[in-house]
């Protein structure tokens, strides 16, 4: 047990949860406005590729990060236009974006870098830095050297989202168009404007999450590097009942399960057979099983925004 529950496990949990938190809170803005965002996976990939490619040319992670935010927002705008203007099935459009961004980054990196789907390595100095970079006088504690600035940003985003969602007129309007667009419209709220804003915000945040994957946690973009994190973020959003802090906690749980899998490899033994490892696959499965149980309503009902998935048609 001592070998497993170490400080490394904590930092590894924070690292692995960071992209989930950013994508899930992004999804929250979209879904609270009434637009299903199953495209988080594609948005992460768009952000990750853009960040790596731009950082490679610009030699600055900040330029890369900004580009990733813009790319995420732009791709989300495609989703928004398809869902809001053209009333497309939101899940289908999202799936399309997910498949598109398995292909498009690979095509572009093949053309730009003559590689089979990955960008070149980015030097360590050009990656998104850890907290210690900003705190020159601090002792070299691991919390400052092992935790990225983006992880802190993710925490700030969560707290800010909580404030915005429940304490500002914008948040009230966002929730209103997701729950009862007819009433919101009657009260003078522009339903579609709020929805565009929600979806595009989700793209921007998922873009940051993607940038963290390629130029924070790793040092290059590889084909399909999101590896299902967008879907896990979506599950965390539902698990967290579409609320910011609960969603973050769900992400931390999923990140913890992931970290535990890595930490336990070759260390944890079966209690009834100490010569055999606990298969990692069983630990990997836990978050998914938990999500299904939560969805089935065994641990408190998780209720979606009422108008989620329904295009709004103004009465004439």
């Amino acid at each position: 047990m001592r070998q497993i529950f170490t400080l490394s496990l904590l930092f590894s949990t924070i690292r692995l949860s960071t992209p989930l938190v950013l994508a899930a809170v992004g999804g929250l803005y979209s879904e609270r406005s009434g637009v299903i965002n199953i495209a988080l996976e594609g948005l992460l990939l768009a952000g990750a590729f853009t960040a790596a490619a731009v950082t490679f040319y610009a030699h600055s992670p900040w330029v890369g990060l900004t580009a990733a935010i813009l790319a995420g927002a732009a791709v989300a705008a495609i989703h928004a236009i398809a869902c809001i203007r053209f009333k497309a099935d939101q899940v289908v459009t999202g799936t399309g974006i997910n498949i598109l961004f398995i292909g498009l980054p690979a095509v572009l990196s093949g053309a730009l870098f003559l590689s089979s789907g990955s960008t070149p390595q980015i030097p360590k100095d050009n990656l998104l830095p850890a907290l210690s970079r900003f705190l020159p006088f601090m002792p070299a504690w691991r919390i400052f050297t092992d935790v990225s600035i983006i992880s802190l940003l993710a925490l700030v985003v969560v707290l800010l989202t909580r404030y915005v969602l429940y304490r500002t007129p914008f948040g009230l309007r966002l929730r209103a168009v997701g729950e009862n667009p007819e009433a919101a419209d009657a009260a003078g709220v522009g339903v579609n404007v709020m929805r565009y804003t929600g979806v595009i915000l989700s793209g921007a945040l998922a873009g940051i999450g993607g940038a963290y994957l390629s130029i924070g946690q790793s040092s290059l973009f590889t084909r399909n590097m999101a590896a299902g994190r967008g879907f896990i973020a979506l599950a965390a959003l539902i698990f967290g009942k579409w609320r910011p802090v609960q969603t973050m906690l769900a992400c931390l749980l999923f990140g913890f399960a992931d970290a535990l899998t890595i930490q336990m490899q070759g260390v944890a033994k079966l209690p009834w057979n100490p010569s055999e490892d606990i298969p990692v696959q069983f630990i990997q499965m836990i978050p998914y099983l938990v999500t299904i149980v939560v969805l089935a309503g065994f641990i408190g009902q998780s209720r979606a925004p009422k108008a989620l998935g329904i295009p709004y048609q103004k009465e004439r």
Partner: protein, 370 residues
């Protein structure tokens, strides 16, 4: 007019996707013309081009039908991927455990040695049942607890992959095998290639009897959906759940039924993959068949004939992608994924939201009935 309407919009979507794809190709300094010539032209040579294209189309027909049946009931089965993995493993498991072992299988013991005429149908059945169960679970969860099938099928995809990874790695791999795959199935469980039946068609091309099964499945799905009472109730549930319920249809039963049938169809991919091609379960074999199935179903307007044609189209692209990879300077085979994604987004758009009232003018849109 109906046929024109059904064919026109998918065709426009495909053409528009090709135009967008062509622009991307042009931006990265390759010739769109040459790329598309390779992408589409490579599929029509005899026997390799046609053989491999039909082989690639087989899993897409199954997953396309799977998604289409669920869609007709108003459900999105995004879990065909997990269902086909579970099914493929089940087929392999029966093939390993119930037949005389392959000479390469030095590790896994058998229960019985069944003859081929029993073993082969049993393996096929195992695939269909396993897929139906894995698809039926989210159906049951939706019917019983109202939890959304999209999230549950995604979760079950991950669970399937982890679970099968475990069984492959720890239980059914031949020790020392560096590849994550099970022991080979019994030779009596393998499905013959079409080369055995068609003169002049080489046996090295993996196109096998599963393709014939896929064609039969298309016909059966058509008969089921449009010629049986169950199919009618299923479509009624998808078209208008409250009206169907008012008419005495049990929506819950339809949801479970639709998801189970959908899973069973997706599971038939395992027949092609395990019994017809690799003769073992190979971890992570699916080239996103489950997700591409969504595109196939949408492009085929959720109709078996449409699914068949759309699967052929995507198989042509998959086949051509290999040549694009080899013979162009910049463009890689990933352009196929890209085109598929664009097609999905475009076919999801509502035609009436794009073209507005001009559709009614040309009689291409049904007028709203009051």
């Amino acid at each position: 007019m109906k046929l024109v309407r059904e064919l026109l919009f998918p065709l426009i979507a495909v053409l528009a996707a090709f135009v967008i794809g062509g622009i991307v190709v042009w931006i990265i300094h390759d010739s769109p013309w040459e790329t598309y010539k390779l992408l589409i032209g490579s599929a029509f040579s005899w026997p390799d081009g046609i053989g491999y294209t039909l082989f690639d189309a087989t899993p897409l027909i199954f997953t396309g039908l799977a998604v289409a049946v669920a869609f007709r009931c108003g459900l999105l089965n995004i879990g065909a991927e997990g269902q086909l993995y579970v099914a493929a493993f089940a087929a392999a498991w029966v093939g390993i455990k119930f037949g005389a072992p392959d000479p390469d299988n030095t590790a896994i013991a058998q229960f019985v040695h069944l003859p081929a005429f029993l073993l082969l149908p049993l393996c096929c059945l195992a695939a269909i049942v396993a897929g139906a169960v894995w698809g039926g679970i989210p159906g049951l969860l939706k019917a019983k607890f109202g939890s959304h099938e999209v999230i549950n099928t995604i979760m079950l995809n991950f669970i399937a992959i982890a679970l099968l990874g475990y069984f492959t790695q720890y239980r059914y791999k031949i020790p020392g095998d560096a590849i994550l795959q099970t022991a080979p199935i019994s030779p009596h469980a393998s499905l013959p290639t079409l080369g055995r039946f068609i003169p002049g068609f080489p046996e090295r091309i993996p196109l096998n009897l599963a393709f014939v099964l896929a064609v039969i499945a298309c016909v059966l799905v058509y008969i089921f959906l449009w010629k049986t009472k169950w199919g009618y109730e299923l479509r009624a549930t998808g078209a208008n759940p409250s009206a169907a319920e008012y008419g005495g249809v049990s929506i819950r039963k339809q949801i479970v039924l639709a998801m189970a049938i959908s899973g069973g169809l997706a599971g038939m991919v395992g027949i092609n993959e395990v019994l017809g091609y690799r003769h073992r379960y190979y971890d992570g074999f699916s080239a996103n068949y489950g997700f591409v199935g969504i595109a196939v179903a949408l492009l085929g307007r959720n109709h078996p004939l449409g699914v068949f044609l759309a699967a052929i189209l995507f198989a042509i692209l998959l086949r051509g992608g290999i040549f694009v990879d080899a013979f162009t300077l910049h463009v890689s085979k990933d352009i196929v994924d890209m085109l598929q994604g664009i097609v999905i987004i475009l076919v999801a758009l509502r035609p009436e939201a794009i073209f507005g009232s001009s559709l009614k003018k040309f009689g291409l849109m049904k007028r709203a009935k009051i």
